[in-house]
């Protein structure tokens, strides 16, 4: 009897242990302490603000404004070349790229995906300030237009003898996950439409710092779109809105060099935030522009001819400096650890856009040009030509990733002539390499995609 008692107790113990173990499907749900589901994760203005910041953060990636996008537009020009110190950017500088080199295609479309999440929400179904939500959607429209513009400039066939642009993505996880390329013209129209939509939705009351898209940023960007695609009226009217806003001013001569080490200067319309806790470190701009005594990559060196670019007294020459025998960009992105903000568009560029649009439409180009000259320690111009304007842009915006665009949009051949250049030849305007190859990964995954010629 006693034995039986013990046995039954043991049986109960075993059954008890077994029952603890018994497991249902729900018991197997994993913890997601670091994540929230997309569905149900964006229900308030605060949630949406996180996504908006995520979009900006994606623009700071090393493959995009963090480094590559800017460097690729310098290293393929008469400003800079790659000395190959760590083997970086020699491929791009030598126009040797192939479809295995990804460039910034993926980073750019990631920003667009984030922007499309923001655009896709219905403000009326969210909790929080509806006006603020619409303001953030305005930012997202502007980002979507800007990033497609960047993509179009690099992958579109406008300078390579074709008419194909890039896929214009307007939905997050939408119906068409393997989109085809739109034409260049369609893209331009959609970019301008996005910028205009953004402008209409942005609300000055919510503008904070130029680290975010503010009211006049879409107009500043639209002026660049207009200039690039020779839509001079668009460029002119957009630039006028920015100039007339009175929100921005030319950085004064005595602050020109130092302004690149300062965040949110009065000339800044839109810049991306980098800091001591949020930067791309060794994959950043400073690390590639300088060797700082051997500790960093320093592949991207300045062509010697740039030393002769500036007239006597031009404060912008202060950007240049030497490391041993090598001419270097010392003044832009000056912090060697990459803590400086990276500008996307500033007032001076809008002013130059305006001058060029005036010139092309028979207006007064001299006034805006001399407004700039007055703050750069150089003599006032007495006449304006296209060459003067393009040259002035080079001097003002050097190392900021604008030179390549200016060369190709004016139909220039690209000369690579330095003794130490890896590539010593002329890339004639219209060469297939003036459109980047669509990345192999995209071609593999998307059979609707058409590759650019000759890749």
């Amino acid at each position: 009897m006693k034995t039986l008692n013990i046995l039954s107790k043991l049986t109960i113990v075993f059954l008890f242990i077994a029952s603890i173990n018994a497991c249902t499907t729900d018991d197997l749900d994993p913890s997601t302490e670091q994540n929230k589901p997309v569905e149900g994760g964006i229900e308030s203005d605060a949630n949406l603000y996180g996504i908006v910041k995520g979009a900006y953060s994606r623009m700071t990636a090393s493959g995009y404004y963090g480094r590559d996008y800017i460097i690729n537009n310098e290293v393929r020009t008469d400003n800079c070349f790659s000395n190959g110190n760590s083997g970086r950017f020699t491929t791009q500088a030598g126009f040797n790229y192939s479809e295995n080199t990804g460039f910034f295609w993926d980073e750019a479309y990631r920003v667009i995906a984030s922007a499309n999440i923001v655009i896709g929400v219905n403000p009326d179904e969210m909790t929080g300030d509806v006006d603020y939500i619409k303001h953030m959607q305005g930012q997202a429209y502007v980002l979507r237009g800007l990033v497609h513009f960047d993509l179009l400039k690099q992958y579109g066939q406008q300078n390579a003898g074709g008419s194909l642009g890039v896929p214009y993505v307007t939905e997050f996880k939408g119906e068409d996950l393997t989109p085809a390329r739109k034409s260049v013209d369609e893209c331009v129209t959609m970019i301008l439409a996005d910028l205009e939509m953004g402008y209409s939705m942005l609300n000055e009351d919510y503008d904070d710092s130029p680290e975010f898209i503010t009211k006049y940023a879409p107009k500043a960007i639209a002026s660049s779109v207009g200039v690039y695609f020779k839509k001079w009226d668009v460029a002119k009217s957009a630039a006028e809105v920015v100039i007339n806003s009175g929100m921005y001013s030319i950085i004064p001569a005595d602050q020109y060099v130092s302004s690149f080490g300062v965040d949110a200067s009065p000339n800044s319309i839109f810049e991306l935030a980098f800091s001591s806790t949020d930067n791309v470190g060794i994959n950043g701009l400073a690390y590639i522009y300088r060797t700082t005594g051997g500790g960093s990559y320093g592949d991207v060196q300045v062509l010697d001819e740039v030393a002769d670019l500036y007239d006597e007294g031009d404060v912008r020459e202060g950007i240049l400096g030497m490391e041993d025998d090598m001419l270097r960009n010392i003044g832009k992105y000056p912090d060697n650890q990459g803590y400086d903000n990276v500008g996307v568009i500033r007032y001076e560029e809008v002013l130059l856009n305006y001058a060029e649009a005036q010139l092309e439409t028979g207006g007064d180009a001299l006034t805006p040009l001399n407004q700039l000259a007055a703050e750069r320690g150089i003599d006032a111009y007495t006449e304006v030509t296209k060459d003067i304007l393009i040259d002035e842009r080079r001097k003002e915006l050097i190392f900021e990733g604008r030179r390549y665009d200016d060369l190709v949009r004016t139909g220039s051949d690209i000369e690579k002539i330095s003794l130490q250049q890896n590539f010593a030849a002329t890339i004639p305007y219209g060469d297939y390499r003036m459109a980047w190859p669509i990345p192999k990964a995209e071609m593999d995954a998307n059979s609707n995609m058409v590759q650019n010629d000759n890749y």
């Binding site: 046995l7 242990i17 077994a18 603890i20 173990n21 497991c23 499907t25 018991d27 197997l28 749900d29 994993p30 913890s31 997601t32 302490e33 670091q34 994540n35 929230k36 589901p37 997309v38 994760g41 996180g50 996504i51 910041k53 995520g54 900006y56 953060s57 994606r58 000395n83 190959g84 083997g87 020699t90 491929t91 192939s98 295995n100 479309y109 990631r110 995906a113 896929p167 993505v169 997050f172 996880k173 393997t178 989109p179 680290e211 975010f212 935030a273 001591s276 806790t277 949020d278 005594g293 500790g295 960093s296 060697n336 650890q337 890896n422 990964a441 995209e442 593999d444 995954a445 998307n446």
Partner: protein, 1014 residues
């Protein structure tokens, strides 16, 4: 409590006893046999015979029978008829049938229906390796092992029967004492040395390792068994008096392969001037490379490194030599004891191991302890606890890439004209092109510390119903991991404005397993035997991680974050995963002739969406022991002839966590605030990847098992592959994990062992194994237009009809003798046309992949009167290996002669028209990455893995000084390596990617050891 039981047990045997004596002799020659186990049947009372074969034993008055047993002899039972019981033992070449441990259960070899190979702990102990899986190389057909690095403690890459998955893991499941374990790399850094979790185990505590390869064997772990299962069984106590063992080994190691040689300073200078001459000779009127040298010094445009070097008297620096820790010492000590008394048996050990790496500034150290107790709580209740604890310390290095501060990289990247030391003898940390590795090794820190506690506790109840037992088991695997990185402020990754950099990581992981098991055996009349098992299991893994970094350190020599002025990041996260399973197994044996295994496992995993969470896995296995058939009874040469076949469905869920959910990630920030972004695409349809494996084979033993082995065939088809299907990047994602595609692995496996001489004093045996593997991708995902989505890199590709990640790159066509340009075939499949423009050359299939088509092992054993020699070799072949970093080290441009350092093969370069060379002309340029077939080599190699020569001292001698046994030995590992391809200069043991890296190569070592039994 346990002590109480133990004492109780001791008291129990203090009963009425009588003394008996006797002598055990050999039937062969009539001499006494020492070391025979003598015990009272049904009890743990026992002893062993002395050197003359005599014994004396106190037995209870009611004892009936004495059992004599000895390895290799037939066991004898003799009735106790008086005070003297003698025995004559004869050799038993057939009867010692191996018991194969398959995880949850174990069966005699003849009853095993699957393809499982067991390696005894004896052959694993005393291997001079930190992680025990290293010792398996070459021992089992179809198992391919390559070490990720020769740094002690590093992870081994194991592939059983090829590669079954593209995205999900390909590593086998590890089971320790019946419990599935997490395994792999424990390190928090991807740039530094990795640390294998298996390195926490002391190989001397391991009783056996079984590798389960086919569906029948792995089905019990079916849901995670698709890549094979490695079952580790730790030692447990044996009844009888304490068996105390002490072993000590001491040795040293060096790189198994020296690797490519590099240019001397003089050669580098010569080639540099040649590059200038070839590039600028015409434009600047330079008549010769020598003139180009003068021009170099005059212009100063290309730097003045060589000018300074010549002024300094052309001093050569051998960086390879400087970074080498020659004859790196290693030592290991183990003390273990096992034994038992009535109702209690134990195994306990302590171990210490330390091993320096063959590169400066790196070492591994481990302290370990083990305790296993088996306690009979009552006649029907048995409690078992197996506990292992260890602390491992790895002083690692930067080694996974060509980091400027990696000592392994400096051999190939630091110019031989740079000086390691200043004139006053101090380390030159300032002026070297790259950070001086001597300085880095002295100043920088990369330390991993891993403490692991494994506790496996079970309670077994033999119920009153005959042959019905319950077992419940709780296993806890607790790991605490710390990582510390520090970069000095003077030179290297912490110099300049960083002013010293520190990063520390801390991780707590715990893995719980609860098991409930019911076993029931049933024997019916007529020889029908059934074993039924039902098992319920729940496993949960919890992982907590914290790290922080900072820069701007206050002062040199202060390396903790408290001394840093500028904290730059803080990060923590918690993740978990859970697995629940139900398992049923039926083992049926009819008369020992026919064996059938049925296995079914239902498993649910937290990695999948609720609707697809559960998977069903099963296997059927059968074996026919033909030698037991009547018609074979006259065929005396056949001792064993077993046909076996199995078929089943196994699974693999080894993908990243939370892939099924479309999730927002929050580990981003912008403008000083947190930010979020869509991190995973999500896929609610995600479920198990499965493999269908067919396995057939014959196991045989002939001529009293003098010839034994097996021959088998396998075919494993993976389906519904967990595949990261590339998405159009316009979606904002790179890929989505989906269940799609099929892949096949098939091949033959042969194991053979021949005992050529077999006697008490002399034995000679030779054995080998061979496995083949043919991999083919059968189906992949398609896009909306029905076109297959391939995965292509610059050197390999995944496409149906080819091996997974088959080599795929432009084909090199040699150097143009007229111009000195490197040439490539534009499309070798269509024409012989070549081009000197790399971008014109199409990528084409090069044949083969990184996975060997054939792996083989060879072993030889010889002993004579106590002296013995064991030899073990390993061969892998039929695969190809790609040389990484060739852009720099093989570049006929600025990389090899102006910026970094080139290999000495570069001397075979084109200089003038007519030269037929391997390398084109040197030019002053920096060429982009051009990956092509010149750097793709045959991977075939043979390696003499292990040679051990030793001597067991004569028992009479040892007995005289009061010891149970003494063995001394010398062991050499990786003593010799043969490589088929002359251009493959790096170690041929390359990881699954097939690309050579700059990690520490496997080591060649010599150790001296002594084992003492008390």
């Amino acid at each position: 409590m346990l002590l109480g039981i133990a004492l109780f047990g001791v008291l129990m045997v203090e009963a009425q006893v009588k003394s008996i004596t006797g002598t055990v002799t050999s039937a062969e020659d009539g001499t006494g046999i020492p070391g025979v186990s003598v015990s009272v049947k049904g009890t743990t009372i026992g002893t062993v015979t002395n050197i003359d074969g005599q014994y004396q034993l106190d037995v209870p008055n009611d004892a009936q029978t004495i059992v004599f047993s000895f390895v290799g002899m037939k066991t004898i039972e003799a009735p106790i008829s008086g005070s003297v019981v003698n025995a004559t033992m004869e050799a038993d070449y057939v009867g010692v049938e191996e018991v194969i441990v398959t995880g949850y259960t174990s069966h005699r070899k003849s009853e095993v229906t699957g393809s499982s190979v067991q390696v005894s702990g004896e052959s694993l102990a005393n291997m001079p390796v930190a992680s025990v899986d290293q010792a398996l190389q070459g021992k089992i057909a179809g198992v391919n092992i390559s070490s990720s690095s020769g740094t002690p403690g590093s992870v081994q890459n194991i592939r059983i029967r090829g590669r079954s998955s593209i995205t999900a893991g390909n590593e086998p499941l590890y089971v320790i004492d019946g419990v599935p374990m997490v395994n792999g790399n424990s390190s928090a850094t991807s740039s530094g040395s990795n640390l294998s979790m298996l390195a926490t185990l002391n190989s001397n505590d391991i009783e056996s390792i079984t590798v389960l390869k086919d569906a029948s064997a792995t089905a019990a772990y079916g849901a995670r068994g698709a890549n094979g299962v490695i079952v580790i069984t730790t030692k447990s106590g044996k009844s009888g008096k304490a068996d105390i063992n002490f072993s000590a080994t001491y040795g040293f190691s060096n790189d198994a392969i020296d690797g490519p040689g590099v240019l001397t300073g003089a050669e580098r200078e010569m080639l540099a001037y040649e590059a200038l001459y070839n590039t600028y000779g015409e434009d600047y009127g330079l008549a010769s490379p020598a003139e180009a040298g003068e021009w170099y010094a005059e212009t100063g445009y290309f730097g003045n490194d060589y000018v300074l070097w010549n002024e300094a008297g052309r001093p050569e620096t051998d960086w390879a030599d400087l970074i080498t820790n020659e004859n790196a010492p290693m030592q290991e000590y183990n003390l273990s004891a096992s034994g038992g008394t009535e109702g209690v048996s134990y195994y306990t050990s302590v171990g210490y191991m330390s091993q320096e790496a063959t590169v400066i500034g790196s070492e591994f150290e481990r302290f370990s302890g083990a305790l296993t107790l088996d306690v009979d709580l009552s006649p029907s209740l048995k409690f078992t606890t197996r506990n292992n604890a260890s602390h491992s310390y790895q002083d690692g290095l930067l080694e996974t890439s060509a980091y400027f501060s990696s000592p392994r990289a400096s051999k190939f990247f630091m110019p031989s004209i740079d000086q390691a030391y200043n004139e006053d003898g101090s380390i030159n940390y300032e002026t070297t092109t790259l950070p001086n590795p001597l300085w880095i090794a002295q100043e920088d820190i990369d330390d991993s510390k891993l403490t692991r506690i494994l506790s496996n506790n079970s309670l077994t109840w033999d119920t009153p119903v005959e042959n019905l037992s319950f077992t419940t088991r709780v296993n806890i695997d607790y790991r605490v991991y710390n990582y510390k990185r520090y970069r000095n402020p003077l030179r290297g990754d912490g110099d300049g404005a960083t002013n010293g950099y520190g990063w520390q990581a801390h991780r707590n992981s715990v893995n719980y397993v609860f098991q409930n098991m019911v076993n029931y055996s049933l024997s019916l009349d007529g020889g029908h035997n059934f074993d039924f098992s039902a098992i319920q299991e729940y496993q949960e893994n919890r992982r907590y991680y914290l790290d922080a970094d900072a820069d701007n350190f206050t002062d040199v020599g202060l390396t903790n974050l408290s001394s840093a002025g500028n904290p730059t990041s803080a990060f923590s996260e918690y993740t978990d995963w859970k697995v629940a399973s139900y398992l049923g197994m039926v083992h049926y044996s009819y008369d020992g002739r026919y064996v059938v295994d049925l296995t079914y496992r239902k498993e649910g995993s937290s990695r999948f969406a609720p609707d697809n969470r559960w998977g069903d896995f099963w296997a059927v296995g059968g074996a026919w022991n033909m030698q037991r058939e009547n018609f074979m009874s006259n065929v005396e040469v056949v001792d064993m002839l077993k046909l076996r076949a199995s078929y089943g469905l196994t699974g693999n869920a080894n993908i990243s966590l939370n892939q099924y959910q479309a999730l927002l990630s929050y580990d981003s920030d912008y403008a000083g605030e947190g930010a979020s972004y869509p991190g995973t695409f999500g896929n609610n349809d995600l479920s198990w990847e499965t493999s269908k494996t067919l396995d057939i084979g014959v196991d045989f033993g002939l001529f009293q098992n003098r010839i034994s082995g097996s021959i088998g065939y396998y075919n494993r088809e993976t389906q519904d592959m967990l595949l990261d299907v590339p998405l159009s990047l316009t979606t904002g994602f790179n890929e989505q994990t989906r269940n799609i595609g099929r892949m096949e692995n098939k091949g033959y496996e042969v194991e053979l062992n021949v005992d050529i001489i077999r006697s008490r004093d002399m034995n000679l045996s030779i054995g080998g194994n061979l496995g083949t593997n043919k991999n083919e991708v059968l189906e992949l995902a398609t896009d909306l237009n029905g076109e297959e989505i391939n995965i292509t890199s610059t050197i390999d590709r995944v496409e149906t009809g080819h091996p997974v990640y088959g080599w795929y790159m432009p084909t090199w066509a040699g150097v143009d003798p007229d111009t000195g340009d490197e040439l490539w075939y534009i499309n070798p499949e269509e024409s012989d046309e070549t081009s000197s423009n790399f971008n014109d050359a199409e990528q084409v299939w090069q044949g083969g992949s990184a996975i060997p088509k054939v792996t083989a092992g060879l072993n030889l054993h010889f002993d004579f009167k106590g002296a013995f020699i064991d030899v073990n070799g390993y061969y892998a072949g039929g695969h190809k290996v790609y040389e990484g970093w060739h852009r720099y080290t093989h570049g006929t441009d600025v990389f090899s002669v102006f910026y970094y350092q080139g290999v000495d093969l570069l001397l075979d370069r084109w200089q003038q028209p007519g030269d037929v060379t391997r390398y084109g002309k040197f030019e002053y340029t920096g060429r982009p990455w051009q990956r092509h077939s010149k750097f793709l080599y045959d991977g075939d190699y043979f390696r003499l893995k292990d040679v051990t020569v030793g001597y067991d001292f004569n028992p009479s001698l040892v007995d005289a000084i009061g010891l149970g046994g003494v063995r001394v030995f010398v062991r050499g590992t990786n003593l010799y390596t043969w490589v088929k391809d002359d251009y493959l200069k790096y170690d041929p043991e390359v990881g699954p990617s097939g690309e050579t890296g700059l990690a520490t190569p496997p080591v060649k070592s010599f150790i001296f050891g002594v084992n003492v039994k008390f």
